[in-house]
Symmetry: D2
Subunit: 405 residues, 4 copies
């Protein structure tokens, strides 16, 4: 393991921090007010496009992309990207400014890695340019989707077209006015081997038969403008050119997609927890009860110390996972990716919970990011595989590895 | 300790359960849809008034009131009320149907116990009739209100009137269109002894100088129609007849108000947790992953077993606290009230967290009460005194009690 | 539920406390010194017999026995016994003085309930008189004995005798010089229905073929003089009259034996935790660091407050279980017995852990009961069924009960 | 951060593992039997000296010493030493074979760093040769020694001698027959500035006035032959040449000594936890209950997965702390040393607790290292500063660092 950041990464970190100071901090309150106004639901913050252009001009664009795709990305390793994602995680909404927000990042990786030339032309380019956004339709309301083989949406070849029928939910990003395309997972062959039944197809959002039923709140948050949609697919027809990679390869793509996606979430969660640590440390200097500064209460110091310990450990584990992915590949890194996917959301939930408690009413109200981050951390104990599934697989793997020593 | 329910309580429990089955369950989905529609923010559910009348007719009205106030209340002990509050806690929004919802319950108790005859006439009567609702203005954004001596709002006598200036927030109930009156806590004499500086006054909501700045979301929830408001008080003038009990007696009233208020919350939290237990037990029969029913996973059974253990313990502690309040009075019961105030919200948060995890996407979305109850439980670790303040006092008390044995 | 203690129980509590003050406290240090001296391993504390006689004279004898067995027991209900067991739990070694220590209590119940007249004459009488002690041989080193159907010791009828072969361990009590008889569980018919394979036989300790291999330490403690033995049974022959109740009824007896045994452990664990609470409260008044009394540290107060909350809840749950056993029988009470068996040892381990931490070096050394109680609590998360088995069964039962609501 | 091991470290790791396989594993059972036999208390395992010579011959000697002290040490960095200490931690008693066991390691560092030439000649040389052992006398029974300024032993200059009076306990190593010298901390000037009152002196164990009162058990374990002693110092007189570094510099030395000591403990704790992980993984393949292999229970897999996550995080944090000590010095590394001192013992206690539970009776008995490691981990939450003191300081430091961001 070698967690030294490269010069490239260090420079980008400094650039990113400066950019945030200069361009984002001054309009942050305005953004929060916009966000808290229910009338703005499903509308995009007007200043976001200008900020995106500035970020692109500054070379702070598509930072997440692991390989070099020309001018549009600096081509960082996972280890190089980790501290940048952590910084963005401290103000989670700004990821989009740098074209680094889920689910676009995962979708772009899928297209870059597995897309045909025409698929790349049509969808990857505008995504990498930040002209459009995208959605990823996997989870279904009728089955326990944590076991992906349960997924039931059918994708049936009919002449030159695939016909898609099914119900999806937790389709993140689908509410965004800019969302133009979705990647949909479903079964092309229910009789094939368990891991070869599923395929992925590209579907334009404005297609006939695709109906957005409703936005779902997640722990009370609608996450506007991206949102999480419930979607009905009724005889949706797309050209067979829209299939990605090949029939029966949905699982393979999902595996390739989820590794990086999971670790990106974890990097940002470390940032959210760090934000919570800083805001609670600050609060202890401002408040007092019963004639004593918060600062002086041993119990409060303990909460802060525990948080620091947990954050630092999760950070190191994330870096270690990133390093392993870079050096040995996502497949070899699967155990440590499982580890960090278990650790980071739980850690963040706990740390943020402590911060809310120390901030009191302000901590649970709309004036800090804390309650929203709390919801995100909690949700991420389910999204991309619930803790239980990761522990089940990791436990099995450990038993294999250590059981015969 | 004697936790047998009286016949009176048992009859009311059965009546309440039947009422819910007959009148509430059939319109529950309609209520949830109304609630989830952002256009209904700060509007009251149209059918609520009819339901209230039915509940009143059935004698299921003002169940919380500890003493007999004529026909409008059955006059239950805390122990008798506990199982009724637990039942209402399973569908938290229905408390209002039985005129049993905070902060009205606490405000009614204050008026019943400490109000003058004219105050009772003017405010207690319509509250007990369910004609109006009320708010309680204590917490302030500028100070750590968990130490109530920090509260800064000034209440200054000027001729025959009190002039009130200050900023309040987390003024629960203040957004409700029916909210007509607030009880405000503030300082009449900042130079008096620490516990004699504060007083309470009654203030009509539509008075000049009282401005609702904004509703506050609590962990993403606005809790419409009651809401939690931030309120500016600028030279608000009320007749000196509006003072409750006397100058400098605000603390005394707060103490009398908070004991029952806290235990009511705890009773309802036990109900919320029980709801979570039932919904997760049910889910285990419906879902499967990796070829195995949820039911068969030992880890899931453990989660359910732990939840059952924690709920039952919190329930017994709540009953024990209620029993002590009934027999020895609120003051003597202060340690056990502190205990249950520490235990119940934490327990509920933990149990609900487990249920969300077992329900997966459905557990964090808008289709069950789980995420809202999660927010409520989390918030109640702060409201009416954060855990830390209760542990600080309880710890002190235990050291006194056991330290010299 | 009705947790009022009867007058009978209250009188015995006072008598017991006085007895301890008068007769035990004055020789407590002497006992501890005896116990800490490795040369006294497997020797009985010389003064114990005199104390037993005094306790018998005072009517503080066989308090645990649920029904009236003449002069030798007051015939208490479980609810009446609970506070007495808690008091004894605070100085765990004194249970024997009142003839209330495991495994004798369980063995006496078995004999009283299921023994033949000659078995009672020969073994129950001297046990109830405190003249001998006994052991219970169930767990085996070669199988996971938490699933009792795994138990492999064979008990084969050969003419008028049973021939017993097998290896047992964790045979509590077997090292005591006074231990004269063991109840052994084993298979009389390996081909019978899963729950009818097992039987129980009485075996004198000094019989040919019964070899004590070694005493086992449990978390470093040998629990002298009772101890926990590993025992080899090689062609041990006993008369067929030694069979208890009948062939294939071992499970039935085990069930009858374990319910009360489990709750007795829990009552004592509440006492051990209460001891820890009192000793840590006391310590906060004696020590200081960094210019501040322990008493004043909020973190220390929190630890004490949490402990008080957890103890009180476990106590109430234990009483509730005792009450249910008294009123509805052990079988009906099985879920709540499972609950308390899960809750009490975990609670005690946690509370004692906190006390050790607050006492520092003294807390982990030989001068208080804390580390020994810590070991006992930890061990009781395994003994009489590990937590996991109880959670597995309780979870199943809850799913049945709540899953279809 | 750069956690790559050097070639030097990797070679030593392989050598160490081979040495253990070849020389230690074959006599391990013999050692355990020796250890479990109470008659061997305070006797040294006879084969230890031969093994020490072999280790010395193999160059596996004094591995802990951070700088090169000639042939007697390979001169490793903390980062290079970490994996070696982890390996030794898996069989904790073998540290002595490589002359790497506390408290000698810390005492050697003190002498190497601060000792006079004659002190080095007299004590450091035989220590480095493994000819003698040593003790460290700091903690006192009468005061909360976690605040080292509380320490009261007096060291008074009288002519050319220091006269020492006081009571010490938890004097680790003092029971060993080979223990020949102690470093004692006490006050030379009670009126000096808080951090300049304390000094350290070298005292031969066989000196007049030094009386070993008794060995202390720690959670039931005597840790023979080293042990933990309570020691009375009555008018002990040593030449003033025995003072280390200078009067009033005791604190400075303690700080220098404790950093490395703490991290060594943590490295070994990671090893102990790893041992627990491996033994519980193995057990899941061997046992079954209710017709199912342990391996197949999701709850058991979860326990193993959680353990793996916690161990890996603690390992990374330990390496990170070692790396920081190497690069920035112990003082700069104080926050991360505090972190790992908080994290590692708690982590190990938790992981070992899980392993004991999965192993059942075997897990708490004398046949594995688990219960002893459990006691060590528990004790290390107190030794070298209780968790609470480290959290108090770390919390303060975090508030300073983050509070004004």
């Amino acid at each position: 393991m070698n967690f030294e950041y490269s010069n490239k990464s260090i420079e980008l970190q400094q650039k990113l921090i400066s950019f945030i100071e200069e361009h984002i901090v001054p309009i942050e309150e305005e953004f929060i007010a916009f966000q808290n106004d229910k009338n703005n639901m499903w509308k995009r913050f007007p200043k976001i496009e200008t900020l995106k252009q500035k970020a692109k001009d500054a070379g702070l664009w598509n930072l997440f992309l692991p390989n070099n795709y020309g001018e549009l990305s600096p081509g960082l390793t996972n280890l190089e990207y980790a501290p940048l994602a952590e910084i963005m995680g401290k103000k989670i909404w700004i990821s989009e400014i740098f074209n680094c927000s889920a689910p676009d990042t995962g979708n772009m990786e899928v297209l870059a890695k597995y897309g045909s030339e025409s698929q790349k032309d049509k969808w990857l380019k505008p995504l990498m340019n930040g002209e459009i956004r995208s959605a990823f339709l996997m989870t279904e309301p009728q089955v326990a989707s944590s076991d992906a083989t349960n997924i039931e949406t059918s994708i049936i070849l009919d002449g030159d077209e695939y016909v898609i029928n099914g119900r999806k939910w937790w389709s993140s990003g689908a509410m965004d006015p800019h969302c133009k395309v979705a990647i949909i997972m479903g079964k092309t062959d229910p009789n094939a081997h368990r891991h070869q039944q599923q395929s992925m197809v590209l579907v334009p959002m404005n297609i006939e038969g695709l109906e957005v039923i409703r936005p779902l709140s997640v722990l009370g948050y609608y996450d506007s403008p991206e949102g999480h949609a419930e979607i009905q697919l009724t005889n949706v027809r797309v050209s067979k050119e829209n299939l990605i990679l090949g029939e029966g390869r949905g699982f393979e793509i999902a595996q390739g997609r989820l590794g990086p996606g999971r670790i990106h979430h974890c990097m940002r969660l470390v940032g959210m927890a760090q934000y919570a640590l800083e805001i609670m440390a600050k609060r202890t200097l401002e408040r007092e009860t019963f004639g004593k500064k918060f600062y002086d209460y041993s119990s409060i110091r303990h909460e802060i110390a525990k948080s620091a310990c947990e954050i630092e450990q999760a950070r190191l584990l994330t870096l270690s996972a990133a390093d392993k992915m870079d050096k040995a590949g996502n497949k070899e890194a699967k155990d440590i990716i499982a580890m960090i996917k278990i650790v980071a959301p739980n850690m963040a939930q706990k740390v943020i919970d402590r911060a809310m408690q120390i901030l009191g009413g302000k901590g649970v109200g709309p004036d800090t990011y804390l309650p929203h981050y709390f919801a995100i951390a909690r949700m991420l104990r389910l999204a991309d595989g619930p803790d239980e599934v990761h522990m089940y697989q990791l436990g099995k793997s450990c038993i294999k590895k250590y059981g015969n020593k």
